[in-house]
């Protein structure tokens, strides 16, 4: 433990986010996190906590600092026409059916 080099308390160690894959073919899902001084320690602890019972076929370990967090979703231009909630056809469908004298599809 060199003075002034690296963390001096376990409270200052970096956080590693752990993602786990439950079975082949499924997506990686965020599982939790571990605190570790380097990738090897992080791997040892993540294996212990997220893979001991065969509950994962693969793990991803990512330093929290490396994650780019995107949470703001501006919609200044009101792009609702790109989504299903941009369309409300109920009233017009009713009108069209009345005009055609039909009760519904088929």
């Amino acid at each position: 433990m060199g003075a002034g080099r690296g963390p001096r308390s376990v409270n200052e160690l970096p956080v590693w986010e752990v993602f786990r894959k439950e079975k082949r073919g499924s997506a990686f899902e965020h599982a939790g996190s571990v605190v570790a001084p380097d990738a090897d320690f992080a791997e040892a602890w993540a294996r212990e906590q997220y893979g001991r019972r065969g509950e994962s076929v693969a793990l991803w370990l990512v330093p929290r600092d490396a994650i780019r967090d995107v949470e703001d979703w501006a919609d200044e231009f009101g792009l609702k026409y790109r989504r299903v909630d941009g369309y409300s056809i109920k009233a017009r469908l009713k009108e069209a059916r009345e005009r055609a004298g039909t009760a519904g599809p088929g």
């Binding site: 433990m1 376990v10 956080v15 599982a31 605190v35 001084p37 906590q49 509950e55 979703w73």
Partner: protein, 302 residues
């Protein structure tokens, strides 16, 4: 689709979580909510860590090699739960070292059941079966916790706890199908643990007066959890020919269980650090914390 805006004032935040909304570590959290979360989750972590001690005492005395291995695995799981839970507390702003220091200094609480001795192998079976059952009821009520990181790790914890209950039932079944003396060991253990078990889910304060429920940290009140425990496990106790040491215990026609009032004075006395084993077990933790300092030092030097 625009992201859900987490309200930035306390009243609106409260309404948001009460409507089933969940929040993440990086969201704005009211100070009171954060403080309640830390208190609740830290106590849970402490309980996992202290909860292994009554069972640890039996690893060397377990009757067969298979039982020793299973018990060791269970102890390892519970310590693992403590690790996951303290990690959540750390992200909320209280360092793990501080949690451990407060615990060994007697400043923090842990669950009442872990302050009692394990007299016989029967107690070990009752702990793994009934204490874990009571705990899993509380933990399942956390799967919908308004603080999402806690809810997520609870999924993994509940999954492991289900193995523990089965292990406990297996220990109990081996004894109730054994000699009359073995059966008696189980009955005596049920008698010893019934009081603490009935106190386990806490005072029957109405959910709307329970801050942990108001913030939707837990999704049910104490009384409801106790009813669920009785409903799930009393029939399982009775079917083995065991009795419950409460003459008032019965299920009413409307499905509610009646029982003698649990000893709330005992609960308060025990969780404030005056249980029969509190001091001894905290001393053990204190000793190990000192003894294992070199591991933390080695990790920091890595």
């Amino acid at each position: 689709m625009a992201a859900v805006e987490i309200p930035r004032d306390e009243q609106a935040f409260l309404e948001y979580v009460q409507a089933g909304g969940q929040v993440e570590t990086t969201d704005w959290l009211p100070d009171d909510y954060r403080a309640k979360l830390i208190k609740f989750i830290e106590m849970h972590g402490n309980s996992e860590l202290m909860g292994v001690l009554p069972e640890r005492e039996w690893i060397l005395r377990a009757p067969t090699l298979q039982r020793k291995l299973a018990l060791t695995a269970k102890v390892q799981d519970e310590v693992g739960h403590a690790q996951l839970i303290y990690r959540v507390v750390e992200d909320l702003g209280k360092p793990r070292e501080q949690c451990l220091a407060d615990l060994v200094d007697g400043k923090a609480k842990f669950h009442n059941v872990f302050h009692y001795p394990t007299k016989t192998w029967g107690d070990v079976g009752v702990i793994a079966w009934l204490v874990d059952a009571a705990a899993i009821i509380s933990q399942k009520a956390l799967l919908k916790c308004s603080y999402a990181p806690y809810a997520r790790i609870m999924k993994k914890i509940c999954w492991e706890e289900s193995f523990h209950i089965l292990h406990g039932r297996d220990v109990i079944l081996a004894m109730v199908t054994g000699t009359p003396e073995q059966f008696e060991l189980v009955q005596e253990a049920v008698n010893r643990w019934w009081g603490p078990l009935m106190q386990f889910h806490g005072n029957p304060i109405p959910p709307d007066e329970d801050p942990m429920y108001l913030w939707r940290i837990k999704s049910q009140g104490n009384g409801e959890a106790r009813q669920q425990f009785l409903d799930g496990y009393v029939p399982q106790i009775w079917e083995l020919g065991l009795t419950v040491p409460d003459p008032k215990l019965r299920k009413r026609d409307d499905g509610e269980w009646e029982f003698s009032e649990p000893d709330w004075d005992e609960l308060k006395h025990v969780v404030t650090g005056h249980g029969p084993k509190t001091e001894e077990r905290l001393a053990l933790r204190r000793r190990f914390l000192e003894q294992e300092q070199w591991v933390r030092d080695a990790v920091l030097a890595a």
